[in-house]
Symmetry: C2
Subunit: 230 residues, 2 copies
DNA sequence: GCATTGTCCAGACACTACGTCTCGTCTAAG
DNA sequence: CTTAGACGAGACGTAGTGTCTGGACAATGC
């Protein structure tokens, strides 16, 4: 569709993306001139094959971005990754867990929750980054897809909360609470409710496919956080 | 293509729910003493069978609430409704359109957008009703499921916007715009962005399964609408 | 060094739902 | 009475599910 498995500037699964295989190719184990890369081993023996793991993660991610969750199947992931279906089922109970693995990794790197200096400016910056992640970043599609799938399947909802939403919200709560204690902000609602009020509109816009209205994030921050200094 | 998939006389889940068939029962054509109800006709002949249409709508709705969208299949709907699969495919292109039919009907009845008296109080009342609908009403599950499915499937997204989100947002925009012109409210954002900011948190909480924080809706209204009179 | 252990690929398997199709039945319209 | 169209029933090929072989392979441990 777009040639190179999408995401141009996308460093993808981060350090790993560089060695990504092309979409059409026969999997991660690209044949090489043999002479140039003798270090390429077909098997990793007794232990889990790291390159296979990465190939699955990347394949799932790419396929989701390219064709959507609806046509994302384990068989397609296996084909794309050049991996046996059994290899996937050995390590992941479902495709949702695969996506969860990539999402956790990606969002920890792209939109970390500020842990120091709980200033109003940092919160604003965090929300802008989050908005960008969820509306423009291909990796944001994974988040939207998982929010969606959590509506359809109870197991997904459980896992999604336990592995992603819960931990992240805990960090957000801590950030906000410390900012309140520091007198940086003074929301009328509690920390959780305030986060819902801030994040909700961003996610809602992303879910409905409408582009984020200009100034939405800033107005949200200004009106709901009522910063003492602003 | 929807030909006739919309229902004109459909009184919705409301009036009909009473006479609903039991879950385990063998479909809409409940056997009756025969003598008591001679008006029950097995076929409606040349024309579309209204009772079959309603049975499908109810079956889809019930199954969604009971087992979730994930295990909602056309075959299950047909079984539950006591209807042939082909009868469903004759009138609806997909299960999504069935749900869309029920959602449009239900939300028009339960949470109509106030068309008169664009007061701040009416807007607040509308949002409270919407929040209740989406968090407590079984019919609200249909809305959440369709928002979710729109992430997975492009056709669903298109149809969902065209048939539900678009028209409703138009009415909401009109409500807000008139309230602004009347000096009832004075949001810092435009009408659409303001609606996103108000509705977003409610939907987000519903999607994440967290109960609506106390006072969220009121605080949203107070802080974002900045009513001239409040 | 050699058997053990566990991963990997390949593909078969029964199962389920899909959406299409054909059949025969039935009823209201003409 | 004829006929058109909806309906129930169910067969059909396709596709993905998750499980379960088999055989090849490499790291580990004795």
């Amino acid at each position: 569709m777009d040639g190179m498995s999408g995401r141009s500037g996308w460093t993808g699964r981060l350090g790993i993306a560089a060695g990504r295989s092309a979409p059409g190719a026969g999997g991660y184990r690209a044949r090489m001139p043999a002479a140039s890369s003798p270090s390429r081993r077909p098997h990793s023996g007794n232990r889990r094959d790291e390159s296979a793991r990465l190939a699955v993660l990347h394949a799932a991610d790419d396929l989701l971005v390219e064709h959507g969750f609806g046509s994302l199947t384990v068989e397609a992931i296996a084909r794309r990754a050049g991996v046996a279906k059994q290899t996937i089922y050995r390590w992941w109970p479902s495709k949702v867990e695969i996506l969860l693995d990539t999402l956790i990794e990606d969002s920890d790197k792209r939109i970390p929750v500020p842990a120091e200096k709980p200033t109003a400016a940092n919160i604003r910056r965090y929300l802008r980054g989050f908005a960008r992640f969820v509306t423009r970043d291909p990796a944001g599609k994974v988040l939207l897809a998982l929010i969606a799938e959590a509506q359809h399947d109870a197991d997904t909802a459980t896992s999604f909360h336990k592995r992603y939403l819960g931990p992240r919200r805990a960090r957000e709560r801590e950030m906000l609470t410390r900012a309140i204690e520091a007198g940086e902000v003074a929301p009328r609602l509690g920390a959780d409710a305030t986060m819902d009020a801030l994040v909700g509109p961003i996610v809602y816009c992303a879910l409905t496919g409408s582009s984020l209205p200009r100034g939405l994030v800033d107005t949200l921050v200004d009106d709901l956080l009522r910063p003492a200094t602003d």
